[in-house]
């Protein structure tokens, strides 16, 4: 019951969903949509545990007065305030919940995203060194494509945008396609292993029994 039933459920659902893919009948499509809908409902309870997890981690820090406990308190307050205003006043535009989202969450998240501009520069400086043949190719391709995107590239040579386009369209596409095929095979093989019960580590079984 503890291991066999989950393995059976997993195999049954896996094979059922593979078969479903080949049946275009409306009942089959309805079934698919229903199952997808179920995912959402099952997830909900996991989110409850998720929220409990984050609350627990921070609560432990606060109650044990560990280093940086004050910040954990900030997280706890921010979490409970958001949950409270969301459930108490609703989530329509203009409500406190959405104000928190628009003026606190979104600006910080998009700023976090924009840090990439800095990191892409530092990563390029730090690692784009012609140490080996492969590294040289990487850096030359990167430089040409970068030049191809801004007017300066065109000013250096009118050919650069065309070369950059060619690199993106031909060698880049070939590499991507090779990776995709490999990923397809690797992931399908992984999926089969799970469905057939060869790989059971997700059940908490690690070594090959």
């Amino acid at each position: 019951m503890k291991r066999e039933l989950p393995l059976f459920i997993c195999a049954l659902m896996g094979i059922t969903m593979i078969i479903q893919y080949f049946i275009p009948h409306p009942y089959s499509i309805k079934f698919y949509q229903t199952v997808i809908g179920w995912f959402i409902i099952i997830m909900t309870f996991a989110f409850v545990l998720g929220i409990m997890s984050i609350a627990r981690v921070h609560w432990n820090k606060v109650s044990r007065k560990q280093k940086d406990w004050f910040y954990s308190l900030v997280a706890l307050i921010s979490l409970s305030v958001t949950l409270f205003v969301g459930f108490a006043f609703g989530i329509e535009r203009g409500k406190p919940f959405m104000l928190i989202f628009e003026y606190i969450q979104v600006p910080m998240e998009s700023t976090m995203f924009s840090l990439l501009a800095f990191y892409i520069a530092s990563a390029a400086f730090r690692t784009f060194r012609a140490r080996t043949f492969e590294a040289t190719l990487l850096l030359i391709a990167a430089v040409i494509v970068m030049l191809g995107r801004v007017p300066i590239g065109y000013m250096i040579s009118s050919k650069i945008p065309a070369i950059s386009g060619w690199i993106l369209d031909i060698p880049n596409l070939a590499a991507k396609r090779g990776i995709m095929i490999g990923v397809g095979l690797g992931s399908i093989s992984m999926g089969l292993k799970i469905i057939l019960g060869v790989e059971r580590s997700w059940l908490g079984t690690i070594g090959g029994e």
């Binding site: 989110f47 459930f87 924009s114 990439l116 391709a141």
Partner: protein
Amino acid sequence: MEMVWITISALLTLAIFSFLYKDNPIYKFAEHLLVGASAGYYFVIYFFNSVKPNLIDEVVKNHHLIPLIPGFLGFLILFRLSRKYGWLSRWSIAFYIGTGMGIYIPVAMQANIIEQLRGTMVETGKVGEPPLFNISSFSLLFSDFNWHNLILAINGPILIIGVLCTLAYFFFSKPHKGALGKFAKVGITFLMVGFGASFGYTVMARVSLLIGRMDFLVNTWFRQLFGL
């Protein structure tokens, strides 16, 4: 009032930027504020957009009983809190994973394998388009030898070689020596050029994001606040 909110946004934006200098109390404060708010946000949104219409309204208002099945499966997850019955949560996880794998396998077979196969036979992957290995473009090249025609003729073959050699790189069960080793080496060449190109291509989009944030700080906030 709006200016107050904008000022809060701007200060929090600066707080996140301060991380670039080094980790500091202001960043720590902003980070924890953000994590708490976003975890709460996601849960609330998830509840109102998914659970309420799909489970609660269905059962309470429409008296549909089928959503109770996933409701039950989901409830089993909560047994994780019990030391003794924790294993019950595996049933729902098994359902989730099994279904996910079953949905994924045929889709991956189609999108990652079959589509890519066709795309490597003809241009743009559409049936009836010119072949990737195009004899007529070669004959054009021989009758009128110039750069443009050369590129036109060899594009297809280069793409084919690139795909095959990249595949060779992913061979696991044979040592990369001899012919396979040479193919794999060419494959690595294509991978590196591809990675470099993708890297270079992304810079622009990332800089745009930063411009957006700076524009907010300079024009939306600073200039308005001081009426410049």
